[in-house]
């Protein structure tokens, strides 16, 4: 039991003492996951709304495929990106493997089905009414997408945060494409995983606490924004 107690004590020391390594890991985690979530949201929220409202052939099949991809394992995404970016892969010449950019790409691919699927489902159930009112007031296609985003902003924010939570808490994809290189591609989850296997608990505990704090802060923001208690 003592080592757990010592682990926590050491963890707080690292956090309060602004340990350079710990904070560089936290910064990179936030940078990678925030960038991936923002990129995926900007591109796929409007597309999700458009597809959700629009009637098209094969919509039911599309829904099934999309919902299946929402639970895609992160290691598979990591593997696909690693194959594409590897030296012999089709995008090998870009030399992105084992860089933060590769980690962002992998996380964009990871959260895209989640953002697209949740937005699509929301637009399918509530977008039609908003579209109808928009049309009766003379809104064009682009106006309707903007109007729908504004009307569903609280729900969409929850979706974005859900996607961010998935990104920041996953290990598989960033481990495969980032390589967990110290000072370069090491993020919270890969560090916790590595420290655990090495039996070095203080830093793992410190980063675990940070992950929980991030999660709590995000949820607090959502609750205050959506007016719940």
């Amino acid at each position: 039991m003592n080592y757990i107690h010592e682990g926590f004590k050491e963890a707080f020391k690292l956090l309060i003492g602004f340990d350079k390594e710990v904070y560089s890991i936290i910064s990179l985690s936030l940078l990678v996951s925030t960038s991936a979530t923002i990129i995926a949201s900007i591109i796929f929220i409007p597309i999700g709304i458009h597809l959700g409202i629009k009637e098209f052939k094969g919509k039911r099949f599309f829904s099934r495929v999309l919902y299946t991809f929402m639970s895609i394992p992160s290691v598979i995404v990591g593997l696909v990106v690693a194959i594409l970016l590897s030296r012999r892969g089709p995008l090998g010449h870009l030399e992105l493997l084992y860089t933060p950019k590769a980690m962002i790409i992998a996380q964009v691919l990871l959260v895209t089905p989640l953002i697209l699927g949740l937005t699509y489902s929301l637009a399918k159930s509530r977008g039609k009414t908003i579209e109808k009112i928009g049309l009766t007031l003379g809104a064009g296609k682009f106006d309707i997408i903007i109007l729908t985003i504004k009307e569903l902003r609280v729900e969409l924010l929850v979706h974005v945060v859900t996607a961010f939570s998935r990104a920041i808490s996953e290990v598989g994809a960033v481990m495969i494409v980032g390589g967990n290189i110290k000072g370069h591609t090491r993020v919270i989850t890969t560090t916790i995983s590595m420290m655990n296997s090495m039996g070095d608990y203080p830093m793992a505990i410190a980063l675990g606490i940070v992950l929980l704090i991030i999660s709590f802060a995000i949820n607090s923001i959502i609750y205050s924004y959506s007016g719940e208690d």
């Binding site: 009112i133 049309l135 007031l137 003379g138």
Partner: protein, 210 residues
């Protein structure tokens, strides 16, 4: 705007729900559409309003088929209005914003219509939290603020208080008089159709009756 309905047929799961050979709604007139439940009144309004495209036949607006330009010149107010999750003022301002009306003119027009509808005390309230009668007034104000050439009303005053009905009827008549906009109003209230309409058509089982 003059509206012509030619040979319009509408089916719902193989059942013919609207069957109109010819119908003309003259420019600048208020026409009432009355009839029992399920007679096709709302379906007709949705087809004219461009919300329902799955029908056969033609609807002609001032001699033309439906385009985005025509869309921009007409509007439909439903029985259960949907107001945006924002302030009443912003709801009424929305049609002007998407038409790129400049800010000063927007303020003037929105304030003017708020005053006419006597809803000054509501303008800063969240629109989706209003009562039924208040929502109907805001919905009509939002429809009239951009002075459409064709105003479609689907039982706009059902289940609201007499004072609100009076204000809404006054504004519908005022709009028609001032802008010469065409109005089509679906109503169950014969007295209301007498008060408002230049002409009334009766629908029964999807057909124009006597």
């Amino acid at each position: 705007m003059e509206v012509l309905v030619n040979d319009v047929r509408k089916f719902y799961s193989n059942k013919l729900v609207l069957n109109i050979d010819k119908l003309r709604f003259p420019k600048g007139k208020i026409t009432g559409i009355i009839g029992p439940n399920g007679s096709g009144k709302t379906t007709l309004l949705n087809i004219i309003g461009g919300l329902d495209r799955e029908y056969t036949g033609q609807v002609i607006y001032d001699g033309k088929a439906l385009t985005q330009g025509i869309y921009r010149n007409m509007t439909l107010v439903t029985q259960k209005p949907y107001l945006f999750r924002r302030k009443v003022y912003e709801n009424i301002e929305y049609p002007l914003k998407i038409r790129k009306v400049n800010k000063q003119e927007r303020i003037k027009k929105v304030q003017d219509i708020i005053k006419r509808f006597e809803i000054e005390e509501l303008q800063d309230k969240k629109a989706h939290l209003l009562s039924g009668g208040e929502s109907q007034k805001v919905s009509l104000a939002r429809a009239l603020v951009f002075e459409p050439k064709l105003l479609l009303l689907d039982e706009p005053t059902s289940n609201i208080d007499p004072e609100s009905i009076k204000i809404m009827e006054r504004e519908i008549l005022g709009f028609n008089e001032e802008t010469k906009g065409t109005v089509l109003i679906v109503t169950h209230n014969i007295e209301q159709s007498k008060r408002l309409c230049d002409d009334v058509i009766y629908l029964e089982e999807g057909k124009v009756g006597n």
